[in-house]
């Protein structure tokens, strides 16, 4: 049995409090008036540091058919920038909330795959996975709450004024409207969490069951869940991420996000397993289990790259204006995070984890895992930020405090759940095979 230590509790609560304070400060600070924004812009152009604002002026001139005075243009631009400054705390909060929710959801899918395939190697890790998925319900509800409260600050199609002047969004409004968005989200979250609730219940019940009754039940609901999951995950990715750029669409976006999700999920399983093992609580987990987790980290990192590149190359090659703007914005304004994430999500884990022996060294897995997690945070960052703050981004106080807030919450909830049940799912019919697993 694991008991949550006071140090961990204090540490995560401190993270939550500091994060909340930092975010609150940057939220209050973001309420700039139009006059203040103009001052900022004047300041920036006098320093000659911002080529971006020049670009924007050119853009807004052409948008206004050139029949407005220069002053009106400047006003328009300043208003634009003011909105971006207002959006930033919302977007920062949303990115961090989504990132931790995604880890939990990825683990839930991985867990269901283990049951549905009746895997023999992994039952020793089931309690760790169950604990991580405990975060799903609060995490997903928080994401939904931020989406609903953030409203037009994150999702431009939630702004009736924008929709009134945008035929493309009008055409999509039977899907992209707020009530239907909320209902859909509740169906997704309800389905996932129902599976998680029963699966955990059966897993605990199987501990003291002499037959395999609950294991079989778990097998069945896992198979059903996986079908439900792959549809809802796809739709969730359109709703929660892709619709921030409502003109743009990509048909493999659901898979692409799934790759991010599952690789971050498996990485967190590995990190928590290594942490608990270092405390001497998971003696039944051996090198071969870690080796397999690291293989999955390696494999899904390559899978992520494959999907990322497939999406990128088709759009780059076809060069259709409404599609390619997505990447133009990202490559122009987000050069470092955009290309940096390929290094962190592909090149680094590929080179570090390619060697079989290194996949068995905990510190190697931790090193690769931390980089993978940062990389996938950046991935989500680059999905959301360009649509909300465009070039007014920075990894500063709002982003760091949102990250601290949700990492604290995630740790608190996950380790609380870990302390609620024995760490070995001893009733699982494959537990002996799993304990003796070796490569």
């Amino acid at each position: 049995m694991y008991t949550i230590s006071n140090r961990l509790k204090i540490f995560s609560i401190t993270l939550i409090v500091l994060g909340a304070l930092g975010w609150g400060y940057s939220y209050v600070n973001s309420h700039k008036s139009l006059e203040e924004v103009k001052e900022i812009l004047a300041d920036e152009s006098s320093h000659g540091g911002s080529h971006e604002s020049v670009d924007h002026e050119v853009e807004s001139v052409s948008n206004n058919h050139g029949d407005l005075s220069h002053d009106a243009n400047e006003d328009k631009h300043a208003e634009h920038v003011m909105h971006q400054i207002h959006n930033r705390p919302y977007a920062a909060l949303y990115v961090a909330a989504f990132f931790f929710m995604m880890i939990s959801l990825g683990v839930l899918a991985f867990y269901a795959i283990q049951y549905a395939s009746q895997a023999g190697w992994s039952p020793v890790l089931y309690r760790v996975m169950e604990a991580i998925t405990y975060y799903l319900l609060p995490g997903a509800l928080i994401v939904l709450a931020i989406a609903v409260i953030g409203d037009k600050h994150i999702f431009i199609w939630m702004d009736p004024e924008v929709v009134a002047h945008d035929e493309l969004i009008q055409g999509k409004s039977s899907w992209l409207n707020k009530p239907w968005f909320i209902i859909r989200a509740l169906i997704f979250i309800g389905g996932w969490c129902l599976y998680r609730y029963f699966s955990r219940k059966f897993s605990l019940a199987q501990d003291n069951n002499s037959g395999n009754k609950y294991f079989k039940l778990n097998f069945r609901i896992s198979a059903v869940f996986l079908v439900f999951f792959i549809y809802t995950e796809s739709m969730m990715s359109w709703d929660w991420i892709m619709s921030v750029d409502p003109h743009w669409f990509s048909t493999l976006f659901g898979w692409y996000l799934f790759a991010s999700m599952i690789v971050s999920g498996i990485t967190v399983i590995a990190l928590i397993t290594i942490y608990l093992k270092s405390k001497g609580l998971l003696d039944f987990v051996n090198d071969s289990h870690l080796h397999d987790l690291a293989k999955f980290m390696f494999g899904f990192s390559v899978f992520w790259t494959y999907l990322w590149f497939s999406q990128f190359m088709l759009i780059w090659y076809a060069n259709i204006p409404e599609e390619v703007t997505y990447y133009v914005t990202r490559i122009e304004h987000y050069t470092i995070p955009f290309f940096g994430m390929i290094v962190m999500n592909f090149i680094f884990p590929f080179l570090v984890l390619i060697n079989s022996d290194y996949k068995r060294l905990p510190w190697f897995i931790v090193m690769a895992g931390v980089v993978i997690l940062i990389g996938h945070y950046v991935d989500i960052f680059v999905m959301i930020m360009p649509a909300t703050v465009v070039d007014r981004w920075f990894f500063g106080l709002p982003e760091i405090s949102a990250l601290a807030l949700f990492s604290g919450l995630f740790m608190l909830i996950v380790f609380y759940s870990l302390s609620k049940a024995p760490l070995l799912a001893k009733g699982n019919p494959y537990i002996k095979e799993s304990e003796n697993f070796h490569y």
Partner: protein, 177 residues
């Protein structure tokens, strides 16, 4: 040197073979070679063989394939006959790089896989028109054969082999080399 004696012990189960290998190793006999109809999991560790270096070779072959693909595409699509790729007539390798990535990937895999198989065959001393080395045809079907150097303790070895579950024990003379 002349000829030397070897003992051939034949088994019909891979688990029995594995435990026999451990017994023979415990008694400090030298196992020359084991012939099996299929790869036996854990046999290399039990025999105390060195870990394979084929992974390193494979990595190097992959790097060669990667380089070849870059040079090849640069020559074909940029230098020799400049192509307008995807309506972007930049004629620069780096700007057209995304369209070459599938080829880089394929050639990396192609080189790594094929050269690795060829290396493996050569390292296992298998090439065309080579006579089979296995001393007993049944090792290609359902029997396992262990070849042991008895040194001077032939009687001891025979006793151990019988205990270990060998279905057949033969002593053969072989030209030493």
């Amino acid at each position: 040197m002349g000829s030397s004696k070897f003992v051939h012990a034949i088994y019909n189960d891979d688990d029995v073979l594995l435990s026999a290998v451990k017994m023979v190793k415990d008694e400090k006999f030298h196992i020359e070679e084991i012939y099996t109809p299929f790869p036996v999991h854990g046999l290399d560790k039990a025999m105390g063989l060195e870990p394979t270096r084929i992974a390193i070779a494979s990595f190097i072959y992959g790097c060669i394939g990667f380089t070849v693909s870059i040079l090849m595409m640069n020559y074909i699509m940029i230098e020799d006959w400049p192509m307008d790729i995807g309506g972007k007539p930049s004629f620069s390798y780096i700007e057209n790089m995304p369209s070459f990535v599938p080829i880089m990937f394929e050639l990396t895999v192609f080189f790594a896989a094929h050269l690795m198989v060829i290396t493996f065959y050569l390292r296992s001393r298998m090439w065309p028109f080579k006579n089979a080395e296995n001393p007993d045809k049944r090792t290609t079907d359902d029997h396992f054969l262990m070849e042991i150097d008895p040194s001077s303790k032939l009687k001891d070895l025979e006793k151990i082999l019988k205990e270990s579950g060998a279905v057949e024990i033969k002593i053969i003379e072989k030209e030493s080399h």
